[in-house]
Subunit: 458 residues, 2 copies
């Protein structure tokens, strides 16, 4: 019989991976909650009418569709079947699809429950999403997203708090990061200034290569992308932008003073950066915030501040991102609801924590004490001792079978159990346990209360 397997692009998570993933999710969850975000969950399946057309044409193709239950065939004649394309048939055979991201279900949630929601509504959501993407290294067909959004408030204080949240989460992880911030209105202002509204992404992409390919080649690329010599010339001070955030902001404010949108964008960035300092101008954060003009994520969607986080000590793409959008729920007939949100990339954070070896010991081990099984009588006795260690909060196992000592010890080793208790006839009579520290190899006869104190490091 063939060994069973799982679908391409999906993963099993074993106990070690789960402990690490839980550490990541629990950390993010705690910080979200500390800032007053409240968790919601939505169903894995949404109506396709909710999902279709929300992710572009390419996105529609990547939606997983659920075949209608029962006689799905009754709806489509053989002639119809022959004439229709696969995409058209899919819409007839399927009413439901799997969640593709957390944003559209959140928008649907807000509109559906609008009467019950208190605005501003601060929600977070940590759930898997599914995409029929081509699997490749680091890209999966099932992966978790960890989103937080505030909707129903235009205040920039929300942006400030989201930056604080990113800072706090990565500080807790021990990952040194750079938090990049930009503003869609600044990018619009630049485009307006040089008269090239459509070229924003091209410009950002080209500028981003400055460090790698140098100024001349950046300018070449801009011309190749269709900008005139004059437009490229006017971009020079922007491409050459450098200095502290304050310096860069000052330059940009001057350059974009004539464009309404650019001026507004600079003001917004100034407010957010200002609020992240104390009254004396000292940063309130653990990590650096970097005003970065080359940041240009998801332009069609975002309308104000945009964020991205990169790890400093590992070569890895963006590990967190987000920004402000103006019209989350318009697609569902509820216009004018502005919001701002971020999303942590759990899979990439997982890899960064692995590469930097930053998982705390608590995230990699579970059972703290294993009672060796010397036979029925001893095991019954150990079972009662285990009640006491568990009551003290110590994850405890009693080896269920009275097999060879060697096998039991190798089980303890494989599971990384730090303490093993050997309770044979002598110990039972003496009312003690022989407690072995698996790391030091040291073994001592102690009472159960002493053992508890030793294991708890008291």
């Amino acid at each position: 019989m063939q060994k069973p397997s799982i679908p391409k692009g999906t993963r099993d998570f074993d106990a070690t991976e789960m402990a690490r993933r839980n550490y990541i999710f629990d950390t993010i969850r705690s910080v979200y909650a500390l800032y007053g975000f409240r968790q919601i969950e939505t169903p894995a399946m949404e109506n396709l009418s909710t999902l279709m057309g929300k992710y572009g044409e390419e996105g529609d193709k990547l939606l997983y569709r659920i075949l209608n239950s029962g006689d799905f065939k009754a709806e489509v004649s053989a002639d119809d079947y022959n004439e229709k394309t696969a995409a058209q048939l899919a819409s007839r055979f399927c009413e439901k699809g799997l969640r593709y991201d957390l944003t559209v279900p959140f928008a649907r949630f807000v509109v559906q429950h609008r009467d019950k929601l208190q605005m501003p509504f601060k929600r977070f959501q940590i759930q898997p999403v599914w995409r029929a993407d081509r699997p490749q290294k680091g890209r999966y067909r099932e992966f978790y997203q960890c989103d937080a959004d505030v909707v129903g408030s235009d205040s920039l204080l929300n942006e400030v708090e989201l930056v604080q949240i990113m800072d706090e989460v990565f500080t807790r992880f021990g990952i040194r990061v750079s938090i990049k911030i930009n503003n869609r209105k600044i990018l619009a202002g630049i485009a307006e200034m040089i008269g090239a509204a459509d070229a924003i992404t091209d410009i950002a992409v080209a500028i981003d290569k400055l460090d790698k390919i140098g100024l001349d080649k950046v300018n070449d690329e801009l011309r190749e992308r269709g900008l005139s010599d004059e437009q490229v010339a006017r971009l020079q001070p922007i491409i050459a932008l450098s200095g502290t955030n304050a310096e860069k902001l000052q330059t940009m404010s001057q350059l974009l003073a004539q464009t309404e949108s650019g001026a507004k964008g600079c003001e917004e960035i100034a407010f957010v950066l200002g609020a992240l300092q104390d009254a004396e101008g000292r940063s309130l954060l653990h990590n650096e915030v970097d005003f970065d003009l080359t940041l240009a994520r998801g332009l069609n969607y975002y309308t104000g501040c945009i964020f991205e986080v990169k790890a400093l000590d590992v070569a890895m793409g963006s590990i967190t991102g987000g920004g402000r959008y103006d019209n989350l729920t318009g697609i569902f007939g509820m216009p004018g609801l502005s919001g701002v949100g971020i999303s942590f990339g759990a899979d990439r954070i997982y890899d960064v924590l692995c590469q930097l070896d930053l998982y705390p010991a608590t995230a990699t081990t579970n059972t703290q004490l294993l009672f060796i099984n010397f036979g029925a009588t001893e095991a019954a006795h150990c079972l009662r001792l285990a009640i006491q260690t568990r009551r003290a909060g110590i994850p405890t196992e009693v080896y269920p079978d009275s097999t060879k000592m060697k096998k039991q010890m190798s089980y303890a080793n494989a599971a990384g159990v730090p303490f093993v208790a050997l309770v044979g006839e002598n110990e039972m009579q003496a009312g003690t346990i022989a407690l072995k520290n698996m790391q030091t190899g040291e073994q001592q006869n102690v009472t159960i209360d002493e053992a508890i104190a030793l294991i708890q490091g008291k």
Copy 2:
């Protein structure tokens, strides 16, 4: 535009529901971990070859199938389409399906990763499953299961620990329960004794009605179900079985002494019940364990001890169940692996906790402190104070907009925030905050450190 909705039988969970559900899952997770069970997760999608044929004919119909991505039509001609049944076509159009339970994916996991797993393998898994069942009150198409299993050990100590886990979980919830235990071998012994191997379920169902319909009607029903007068006569001492667990067990041991399987079942129950007592025969549990002959769940699957938990103070079906099985992984070509497991019914436990009003305060509230927003300057100041309260672990919000006081207070009320901080110009200058206790209405001017102490109840 029509208000968007979600598929029938699925649910959104709002912040309050999520807090409660997390309380349930976290409690179960903690207890599983305390007993050395380690968490795994498997993908939502499994290959249909893994799922099909594992849940009976009816189960196959209830599987959600995922339409193949891309040109699924290319595989099936119009003629084929015309000739095949919907079920046959489904197998051509779909390779993957959604997880229907956690047991089959677990079996698949064990076989797939057998080379890496240390036996005995104690795993728990808390994930949603999907069934295309007819939705009705308390039955959903997406719901969570919370399973723990030990495989690779025949020891009855595993059964003992699972009973302890059930006892501990419901004790933590504050739900008084009866933990029912029976053994498939005892039921087989009864059938053997009266020569009616197929009638086990019928017998168990009929006996279960004793309290409701009385002995005569139970006997009538047994005859209706095809038992002879002699068989019914031989069942009388079993139907009339009463007394303590020890008394019932003694009677059954005598009655079934001649059947190998019955004698073995009684021995097993005796061992498990014995290990749940201390050396003086006092129960080590908080709840009662009830040896109950009428318990007969999932006979085809279970082979040894079986368990079921019922709440004592609420009329509700079984809220937890499980048992021993002999051949979990045989379906995937790995025979002879015995295991024992339990599954908590999270949705029913949710309802029980609601009905008995047993949720702790921590499971229903989140933000502990809201700073009222009196304007940009004050808000910037509050943002810095919030850093301190959050550092002290207090979930804190700063209201993002400087809207009317009334609106901000009603936000605090709706979110159940226990403390509100009012920091205007005067307080800023004095370096204090006006802290209002929303429950008592009491308001006092305090320093931030004093506020932290007050909120933490110190």
